[in-house]
Amino acid sequence: MDPTRLTLVEQTRLFKSGELGAVELVEAHLARIDRLDDALGAFLAVDADAALACARALDARRAAGEALGRLAGAVIAVKDQIVTRGLVTTAGSKILAGWVPPYDATAVARLRQADAIVIGKTNQDELGMGSSTELSAFKPAKNPWDLARVPGGSSGGSAVAVAAHLAAAALGTDTGGSIRQPASFCGLVGVKPTYGRVSRHGAIAYASSLDQIGPLTRSVADAALVLEAIAGQDPHDQTSLPMPAPGLTAIGPHVDLGGLRVGVPDEYLGDGVAPDVRERVRHALARLSDEGATVVPISLPHTRYAVATYYLVATAEASSNLARFDGIRYGHRAAAPADLAELFSKTRAEGFGPEVKRRIMLGTFALSSGYYDAYYLQAQKVRTLIRRDFDQAFAAVDLIAGPTSPVTAWPHGERTSDPLSMYLADIFTVPASLAGLPALSLPVGRDAHGLPVGLQLVAPPLQEVRLLQIAHGLETLLGRESCPFGAEVAA
């Protein structure tokens, strides 16, 4: 048996039962990374020594009959946006090249407390800004379903690592779709929790009112297990919510979908959606109907304003958050500046890539004197309108469904020269981000090119359990599909 073909739930079960060793699990994943990752570009750093040391300690604890955490034996990769103590963390940016954080993000600390094994840091668009993982300062990542295509982004390396079985699960961060869209492009489950559900402490801030950490996995049950481990209030994040982590592992194999009301926004299946994507989404909705769910047409009329709203709010917050990269406390520092102002401006000009500069400039403009009311404040008001759309919809339906992305994975280079076309690819993921709602992408088949299509499900605030239960029911109906890339490489 090749342990890398197992789901995370299976890996932890077999580890705890003594059928599989932690060292065996880690070595199998390291061997795949060694063989395959040059072609994929999923990882920016692999921590083989620490992962093996952690595995040996786990094997010893199991042999001694000690209690083991809920993720014991699970091999998990972490997006480079999320800081890891003692392991180089760059967020895909030259401005942090070589930086070794002195602390763990809360989500990473909770993974370790649950006895997960952190195997490495995954590639991403620089500082979370991009939808293709081509904007990494170090290397692009490739989609394992078709290496000529992008894996989505910004958590593209996390998606590639899990889809290609280089890790059982990965953490990503999602500001406007950066977990859900790469999950969709790579045929994975990706969850953006309710804003505040998971501590942002140690997630390098992009847009603080939108950023959330969440899992990318090969099954809904895997996502539930990881989310349960990382969720919950944290004194280090004032916006983390004061309620206990949801008991997600209670999600059973049999889910009754009868009576479920699923809202499908007219705006989400319009002309801009690729026909194959529309067809797969309709097929998934039909399966829900077969099980007794009611599919209800609804309207989210402010959807068309969501991308514009998002790119003003997110860039404004980014321009403020990224002020911390000034060459003084960590990261790149320009040589021989004439004075302090030049140290700042040269360090930042040398350290940031073109997309990051573009967004800092847009955000700085939106907050600048004379334009604040017309751009930033207006965007925050439209954000209220977008949230009200959802509130009204949820009065009549339990859940909202539609495509995660209007298209499947596009060829490398297709959108890099046109930032606006890249931004518009986020049209279906940014509304839930702006409204702070939990949302999930579930694989629902493939298009004519064989590329995965994702269905996005959006739930009311804090209803992650319901969201995952329904996704689990649908996953059971549709079946799971494994990416064949590298299947010939046996452990």
Partner: protein
Amino acid sequence: MDEPTSTSAATAIDVAHVARLARLALSPDELARLQADLGRILGYVDELRALDTADVPAMSHPLPFSSPYRPDEAGAALPRETALAGAAANDGEAFIVPKVV
């Protein structure tokens, strides 16, 4: 590069001024490219300005929870050498910056 279609601030954006505010030392080429890119992007986001939001409050937080305060007590902090370890210039006591005054 297409010109923005609106006659808003998009056409008038002073990218050199914004770059100074953002503490970015950009080359003339970069400024020219950003002038065009930001013009197009602002032309697109200008559609927001047509919405009537006179009676709509700005959203400051997506969920109605107030931020709690922790007790005002000193907690664990990083040791000095750890906090300084990531700095390109430090003297073991403090971060080093160019002379300010």
